[in-house]
Structures are given as C-alpha cells and as structure tokens.
Amino acid sequence: MKSWKADELLEQLQEDVRSLIVQGKRLMHHEPAHLLQQPAPGGWSVAQVLTHLNAYSRYYHREMEKSLQKNKPARVTFKPGWLGNYFTNMMLPGAGGEVRNKMKAPKGYRPDPLPDAKEVVQEFLQHQQHLLQLLEKARGKNIGALRIPVSIAPLIRLKLGDTFRFLIAHEQRHFIQVHRILKQLGAGKQPAAA
C-alpha cells in the first residue's frame, strides 16, 4: 500500500484546500439568485451543495481540533488505513475529472432548499481557512496515530491523515458538481476570469 512522507501529504492537501478557496471565492462573483437556482427539479443548487459541505466541515473540524490537542509527536511516514483508502477512493473523481459513482447524501446531511447563498459561501470559505490551519497544526502530530470518529458511524474511527484526505476529496468531488451546475445554468453573469 502506498505510503507518504507525512509533511509532503499535508502540503499536497494544503495546496488542494487553497485551490478550493480560490474556487469558492469566485462563486461570490455570481448573483445570489444564481447560486440558489436548481439545475433541474430535485437537483441541488450550488448553495445547497455548499450547505452540505459546511455540515461536514462543522463536524469534522471540531473533532480534528479536539484530536490535535493530544500529545502525539509527528512521524516521518504516514501509512493510510484500508478503510481510509476505501473512503477516499470512493470520493475521488476519475482521471478526466468526472464523477464516477453517484451517491446519496445520508440523512442529516441533506441541505435546506433555500439557504442565504452569500452566507453559505462565506461559511464555506471560513471552514477552508480553518482547515488550512488544522493541516498546519497536524505537521507537528502523528497523523497515523490520532483517530477521528466517522460522522455517520462514530464507532468507526479513521486515522487523522485519512480523515483529511477523505474530507478534502469529498469537497473536490462536490466542486466538480458545482462547476457542472453552473454550466447547466449557462454560467449567467460570470465575469471573465482574470
């Protein structure tokens, strides 16, 4: 099984989160009504996707913050767990950036249909800044020994390193969905990316 140098993995994940911040900030350039528009009946709006991600961030960041207070000094190498790999691979998009298997969000993680779009994006961005800090703190800890209970099955505990991988892959997956939704809506008034 592939293993990483822990600090290289954390750095890679930080790059992924920074890229999510850029994409998230660009969403603010859209009209709120646009972000609330469902691409098809029953399909999620961009704001709903972000509400869903925010619910995960709230739970996992709190648990990660708790676990990072424990005294487990850093190790050079991180070996992922099989379950962590399984969850992460399930989330990761294919090589062409497409989402492979459709999934259904578990109960409690299905979003309200009409959230305040700008607030939702703001909250998303705050979570990502927090996640960058968590990844930075994790450089000083053993991300293979610290464990985080899975939100929908608290008896299952993932390695902290795997939880980061899984959580960020989940966000990347949903950002592919976000771009698809915006494309379906005809991108409306998106200013030229500069």
Binding site: E15, R18, S19, I21, V22, K25, R26, L132, A192, A194
Partner: protein
C-alpha cells in the same frame, strides 16, 4: 565502495542540483556584491520544489512562509474578493518570487500566489532568512537593496495605473517586457493592466510598437 555510494541517478541528480544552485548564485552575484562566505551560506539555505500548473502555493489569509527563486515556469500573485480579481505581479526565471510583503512582514497575505505553468523553483523559509541576516549583516543589506528596487518598480506601476490610458499602459508593458506576450496568457496580461480581455486584444491588433 565507490560504486555503492553513488549510483548514476544520484550523480545526475547531484549534477542538476548543482546547476540549479549555480543559476541562483549567478543571479545573486549580479544583483549584489556579497563576500564569498556570506554568498556560500546564503546558497546552502534552499530546497528545490516542482509543481504542476495552477498550484496555489499561498492563499490570502495565510502568512507567506517562503521566499522562492524561479528556475522554470511562470507564476502570479493575484487579488480576489467578492467582486474582483486582479493580477498584481508575474514572476518568471530568473527572479525571486512569492508574496514579498507578507514574507518580509510575516503578516497575513492579501494575495494568492499560484503557478500558471509547470514550475521548478528553489525556496527558503523566513526562519532561515532571519538567521542568515542575523549572522551576515551583508545579507541584510542585500535584502534592503533588493527591496528598495522592488519598491521602485511597484511605485512606477502605481503611477502608471493611475495616470496612463489603456493604450499607454499596454505600450509601457511591452516596452519594458516584450517577451511576456509569448510567455503569459493574454487574459492574465489584461488583468495585470486592469483592462478587459476584449480591450487587450483590440490593443494587440491596433497598436504599432
């Protein structure tokens, strides 16, 4: 014993690594006359990194940890808020890179720093630079000297942004750095000048240089 300690690949890697440091050394020698000892110390403080295009190395809100030296590729620092996106500066070889103000002041960056093309760079941390400056006052003088010239460039650009028309900004950019037209995507050049993409391509078609 000889063949067990240096494989061919290790030799090659060492060779490239030396070459990369030579590029840095050469750049510094031309920029500021450092005594040999300080120059040697400064050149040992760097680690190589490679990244794919569109890698975000610093996010707004983070404090810049590194000073980069570009060996290959193009990067930009840009501003992005709820309404606007603006390219503040481009970097390409050979030059230093990163969010300079955040690095020097160790305060949160207003800007993102990203690679536009696949990039190869050397980098050193603030901690390392701080120690070097403490140990070798000449290095501190060099940083002051370089920062002064960077400030000169920044203020010149500030004047141009406030006083120049789109066409004048376009001419001035191409007089100073004609190669950027080949190097950098026009949408980013437009963003750097603060004109929209269509104005930029119109200027490209009409302005005789």
């Amino acid at each position: 014993m000889f063949d067990s300690c240096l494989s061919t690949t290790a030799c090659l890697q060492y060779f490239y690594w030396m070459n990369e440091l030579d590029v840095l050394r050469d750049f510094i020698v031309k920029a500021y006359p450092l005594p040999a000892e300080a120059l040697d110390a400064l050149c040992t403080a760097w680690q190589p990194i490679s990244c794919k295009r569109k890698t975000v190395l610093t996010a707004a809100g983070e404090t810049e940890k590194y000073l980069y030296f570009v060996l290959e590729g193009v990067q930009r620092a840009f501003f992005l808020d709820d309404k606007k996106e603006a390219t503040i500066v481009f970097t390409y070889p050979p030059s230093f890179a990163g969010v300079a103000d955040s690095f020097l002041t160790q305060t949160p960056s207003l800007f993102f720093f990203e690679t536009l093309t696949q990039s190869r760079m050397l980098r050193t941390s603030y901690r390392q630079m701080e120690e070097l400056m403490e140990q070798y006052p000449e290095i501190q003088k060099m940083i002051l000297h370089l920062t002064g010239f960077i400030l000169k460039g920044v203020l010149l650009r500030q004047m141009e942004l406030q006083c120049f028309s789109a066409e004048e900004k376009f001419r001035s950019l191409l007089r100073r750095s004609p190669h950027v037209l080949q190097l950098i995507s026009h949408k980013y050049l437009a963003s750097y000048l603060g004109v929209d993409a269509s104005t930029f391509s119109k200027l490209l078609g009409t302005v005789k240089l």
